[in-house]
Symmetry: C2
Subunit: 186 residues, 2 copies
């Protein structure tokens, strides 16, 4: 069901070279210019009806925003995410204000696209991104207090990777990718 | 609230040059090699816990799969999507089989990432992608009959663009992107 292999050579290097580091170089700074470009990359992602249902809270080491995020990391992510030059909290707008009315049925899907664009831009700047969910969702939501309708979905650590991708990354086969939705046999 | 402008020059060209064409060159074929690379690009996208909750049904003009998709396009998308060299139906696995148990809370988010990777790969190959929801969801779901737990989310038309991006594409400002989740003033 899984292939242990590397991406084929025809994949663009920004995609095939991407991996989620478990170690970041704590001395590598994400400066204002780089931060601006990462957010611009997310900003220009496509979205359903151009709804752009995404928002980002960012913190870099030394910034008060960073101090607001850190206490809510799980021990498993704090070990490596603390060293990253940038932490991004990714939010989506699922609902209109405090109603149950959907703001966009594609809110999560579109946020995923925006974060993917941010990730590709990071790669293009010699940085790497590691998305994670290992944080206290309730505590961080209370701390950041987003507007009604908005929800925290994920976090992204961005910085200079201090490790290499694990050998033999694991993926479902292409056949699986195409047949899984129609075949009970996986 | 919106900026009418172009992406800044520091954004990688594969991201800044991306747009969703409303016209495709009907003579431009997406061959097997290109189709394989598009799916590989999606396949190597990141996902929560490496869950890879995505699946794709593809059809190219002349293929029986294309004929299964076409009747379910809305008139608004049939006008341009029919000419694309490739139609992709993107599915996500939200639930475990026919239970209400989540397969992944990031199913839609991760599918968005995989489609974004497919889109970036298309750009890298001189193709363009236009995602859309203008199709008969019920009819297409009945036609493709995905396994329990799987759901169609979007479609993607991929091909050679036969138009140019509209001038002055519209995006929320970066300030909005950062402040919207915390400020009622938009």
């Amino acid at each position: 069901m899984h292939d242990r292999q590397e991406p084929p050579s025809g994949i663009h290097p920004l995609l095939s070279g991407r991996f989620s580091p478990y170690r970041f170089d704590p001395s590598a700074v994400v400066d204002d210019h780089a931060l601006g470009l990462l957010l611009e990359a997310a900003r220009w992602a496509p979205s359903a009806g151009n709804s752009q249902p995404w928002g980002f809270f960012t913190g870099r080491p030394g910034e008060p925003e960073h101090d607001r995020i850190l206490p809510h990391l799980a021990p498993s992510s704090a070990r490596w995410a603390t060293d990253a030059g940038l932490l991004v909290v990714a939010l989506t707008r699922r609902h209109v204000d405090d109603s149950q009315l959907l703001y966009s049925e594609f809110a999560d899907y579109d946020l995923g696209q925006a974060v993917a664009h941010l990730t590709v831009q990071a790669q293009a700047m010699g940085l790497a991104a590691h998305q994670f969910r290992a944080f206290d969702m309730e505590g961080l939501t209370k701390e950041l207090d987003p507007n009604p309708g908005w929800a925290i979905v994920s976090m992204v650590a961005v910085g200079k990777a201090a490790d290499a991708p694990a050998e033999g990354r694991t993926r479902h086969s292409v056949a699986h990718l195409r047949s899984a939705p129609w075949s009970r046999v996986e």
